[in-house]
Symmetry: C2
Subunit: 138 residues, 2 copies
Amino acid sequence: MTEFLCPCGPGITVPAALMPDFAKAGGLIPVITQDASTLEVLMLAYMNEEAFAKTLETGEVHYWSRSRNELWHKGETSGHVQKLRGMRIDCDNDALLVRVDQTGGAACHTGYRSCFYRALTEDGVIECCPLIFDPDAL
Amino acid sequence: MTEFLCPCGPGITVPAALMPDFAKAGGLIPVITQDASTLEVLMLAYMNEEAFAKTLETGEVHYWSRSRNELWHKGETSGHVQKLRGMRIDCDNDALLVRVDQTGGAACHTGYRSCFYRALTEDGVIECCPLIFDPDAL
């Protein structure tokens, strides 16, 4: 699968075709975050217009935290930032897909590589994803 | 990456650990749909409790259409159904990841394989995904 580097930097201009329709979505759009190398889905979070702009300005993914109601620079305190490698938009301009290099190897606050670390199987629910760090030991 | 077949069939019991918290999410949760073979993200849509149950009962992905406000058996009219291969849930139990075999090869109503068919690059927005069918010719 071809991957393209996403241009980043201060003052970057986003073509209209890739601008999310924040107004239609009530200000927040869902963002799927995928590991740029393995294509594993790491998490789903949300961006508002400010988080979207900060992500492209800095090259590190910013979300809008719905629980804290504030801009969320992912990994700012832990150092586990997400370096932006690619950005795609869906047909309705109301969802984004970002591809990242996940510093530290874990996207989830639980210490698992992916927030989607539980799978349904014939034997019940299993942990399908490695634990990278112990959050209690931080 | 290990993949696990998701059990399906009438009367399937979902373990509590994999049950989405529909109430917390206002009845609808976002669902990321990923190609089971290539891991390409095909689309993002929503499920309510009925769509979730129907998906597991039938082994074909059902969503809740927010625009039509009705249960949406993906591919019911076109034949482009999504065969369920895996199901994962996130750490907050408010997002799902399904892995599917996409019948017909295209998940998007535009005819592209993925709804995320546009990527931001140094040269502007490009189409990063093949067109599988011409929707005007249907």
